[in-house]
């Protein structure tokens, strides 16, 4: 189903928000202002946005080490995100999680994850809750091509199909796991080939085309909401930056020419061209979105920089949930 003009504008906004957040985070990291690892989502925006534009806060998602884009697409606010990346007390996780564990349960974002593949079983659990409560909500598990090589993915896929849970497995196939090509680690080309083995439909979609992702995700999500069970959606996409950080680590593991070819297919510029074509947003109107959101980013960075660090005493807080005191 063709997205409405409102949905198209929403898609665009979500993608620009992701891009700006990630570009800003990359710059901060290069200026040594962000501690720890930073896995950027630049290039893959159409996937998170195209899926999440079909979700509400009551729907659940699980994410990966490359998780900022999923949180932004799910409605994450720049201020607590930036603060979390800086390890500040005002961050989404009070500075305890950082980039790799960023999460917002209020938004239905059940966490970025430092363990490849670990999100999918958790999404199965969330989908179970949705079915158990019959609340009409769904879960989406985001994961990379590399994550489909780990047992957790397979167990999750099988269980979700066996229990016919309302879940979508959204694979971001960017052709690499860290510094190793996908074809060195699996004998298939399309991740969707795995779907059949579990008894769920699988669809391939152009992950650089936000509208295509949005349509495919809408269908899979509707299928799940209607009680028909899981779908595997494979989005063919590409990360423009290094596995972590911005620059390659010196050692070449993918040719510059390959990166350039994919950059020509920048998902945001592709969408903007389409929006202008169909008269939903003019070039000037698109530019206005960037300008507006750039101001939000600047605000978030200032907020994060001015925010207090967590206090030493907080190390031992949050390990356990206190029991309510008996009356």
């Amino acid at each position: 189903m063709e997205p409405t003009p409102d949905v198209l504008r929403d898609l665009h906004r979500r993608m620009v928000r992701i891009r700006l957040f990630e570009e800003a985070a990359g710059k901060l990291a290069e200026a040594a202002k962000l501690p720890g690892f930073l896995h950027l989502y630049v290039g893959e925006e159409a996937v998170a946005a195209g899926v999440c534009v079909n979700l509400t806060n009551a729907d659940s998602i699980t994410s990966t080490h490359r998780g900022h884009g999923h949180l932004v697409a799910k409605g994450g606010q720049f201020r607590p995100m930036m603060a979390e990346l800086m390890g500040k007390a005002t961050g989404y996780c009070n500075g305890k999680g950082g980039s790799m564990h960023i999460s917002s349960l209020e938004l239905g974002m059940l966490g970025a994850n430092g363990i490849v593949g670990a999100g999918s079983p958790i999404a199965v659990g969330a989908a179970f809750t949705h079915k158990y409560r019959d609340d009409g909500n769904v879960a989406v598990a985001f994961f990379g091509d590399g994550a489909t090589n780990i047992g957790a993915f397979h167990e999750a896929a099988n269980m979700a199909c066996a229990l016919k849970l309302p879940i979508v497995f959204a694979c971001e196939n960017n052709e690499y796991g860290e510094f190793t090509r996908r074809d060195a680690t699996m004998a298939i080309t399309d991740i969707v080939d795995r779907a059949q083995g579990y008894g769920m439909p699988g669809v391939i979609v152009d992950g650089m085309d936000a509208v295509a992702v949005c349509e495919a995700a809408a269908e899979a999500i509707a299928y799940a909401r209607a009680g028909h069970g899981p779908t595997l959606v494979e989005a063919k996409t590409y990360r423009f930056y290094n596995h972590h950080g911005v620059q390659n680590l010196g050692l070449k593991y993918r040719p510059d020419s390959e990166v350039e070819v994919w950059k020509q297919r920048d998902p945001i510029f592709t969408l903007e061209a389409k929006l202008a074509d169909v008269g939903v947003l003019t070039t000037e109107q698109c530019e206005a979105v960037w300008v507006e959101l750039r101001a939000d980013i600047a605000d978030a960075i200032a907020f994060a920089e001015d925010s207090p660090l967590p206090n030493k005493d907080q190390i031992l807080e949050d390990v356990y949930t206190p029991m309510a005191v008996a009356q």
Binding site: K88, G177, F179, T180, A184, I315
Partner: protein
């Protein structure tokens, strides 16, 4: 520890590992390596750099992200005659493969009535201090040492790294070699020829008379730094690095405790249930009458590793906090306090 002489070659901790693997592979055709990103890329920490170039992709294998299958590859290939080195990029990821490590690797020989031999080396990288957060920073060596059938080493310097790694590869039992991420660049004397440091033998890094400090990995170096500070206060620390954590060289530690009459264990892992507890128990069993103070322990607080540097810096013990702990064992205050 052998002191560097002017003509001795120095090498980094990570290259000492690399050289041990390289020389062992040259010496024994049955040795091969497998792990994520270790082939063309040489490993995310550079540990396997250049090995695929020398030995080819038959012997230096890039694996899928499949920790269970990586350990299983080691189990199955070792029990059928090869001598595998299988790598888990981060120590935290051993949890993904715990069945293969705990129920298979460690137990096969015993369950088969002794008929199986598993000359398998699992290599991994542990330790905090890089804001890598709760799933990329853990020190889980106590879990491994709790499993009969495994041997565990945790070198604190390049010399021991090379020698222990050679021993692990030559060992006819499953071994786990833990590298500390923050020691990778540490440089020190490393002989060019292949040599081994025996498993199960502690090293007295610094002889002393007033108090025994037992620590390994990066904490051994922090303990040495604390000892240097305390020397100026007239406190003479004996710093012992067990180097191998399983089997544990209790004799060396107990002999030292009997000599100094005071002992403190320092580790990066959480204090509760850490190896410090085991060492304290052994020392009180064998040197109770010699002790002038309870066996002390320094370790991390009982929480996951926090991301924020503002929290992590208090979470990980360092020379300053170790010095405080040592003074406590001696009933001493910091100068000027």
């Amino acid at each position: 520890m052998s002191q560097p002489t002017s003509d001795e070659r120095t090498l980094s901790y990570v290259m000492a590992f690399n050289e041990a693997v390289r020389q062992s592979m040259r010496a024994d055709e049955n040795v091969f390596c497998a792990g994520e990103d270790i082939g063309a890329f040489g490993g995310v920490f550079g540990t396997f750099g250049g090995l695929q170039k020398e030995f080819g992709s038959r012997r230096v294998v890039d694996t899928p992200i499949s920790e269970q299958a990586i350990i299983g590859l080691g189990v199955g290939s070792s029990v059928t005659g090869l001598r595998p080195i299988v790598d888990l990029m981060f120590m935290d990821f051993m949890c993904v493969a715990l069945d293969q490590i705990v129920n298979q690797t460690a137990k096969l020989k015993y369950m088969f009535g002794g008929k199986a031999t598993l000359p398998l080396t699992i290599t991994t990288a542990g330790g905090a201090g890089l804001s890598a957060a709760a799933q990329h920073s853990q020190s889980l060596e106590a879990i491994l040492c709790h499993i009969p059938g495994l041997k565990v080493v945790y070198p604190s310097n390049p010399y021991d790294m090379k020698g222990l790694m050679v021993s692990c590869i030559r060992e006819n039992n499953p071994t786990v070699m833990v590298k500390h991420k923050r020691l990778l660049g540490m440089s020190g004397p490393v002989p060019e020829d292949i040599y081994s440091v025996p498993l199960g033998v502690a090293n007295i890094l610094r002889p002393g008379t007033d108090v025994t400090v037992v620590s390994w990995g990066r904490m051994a170096n922090e303990s040495l730094a604390a000892a240097a500070v305390l020397a100026d206060e007239g406190i003479d620390c004996e710093v012992i690095d067990p180097r191998t954590l399983q089997p544990f060289d209790t004799a060396t530690v107990v002999a030292s405790a009997r000599k100094t009459n005071r002992i403190i264990v320092v580790h990066e892992a959480v204090r509760f249930g850490g190896l410090g507890a085991e060492i304290a128990a052994q020392v009180q069993e064998e040197a109770f009458d010699y002790l002038d103070a309870p066996v002390a322990r320094i370790g991390a607080p009982f929480s996951p590793v926090p991301f924020s540097p503002a929290l992590e810096k208090y979470y990980v013990p360092d020379a300053a906090s170790i010095a405080v702990g040592i003074r406590d064992v001696l009933g001493r205050r910091a100068p000027g306090k």
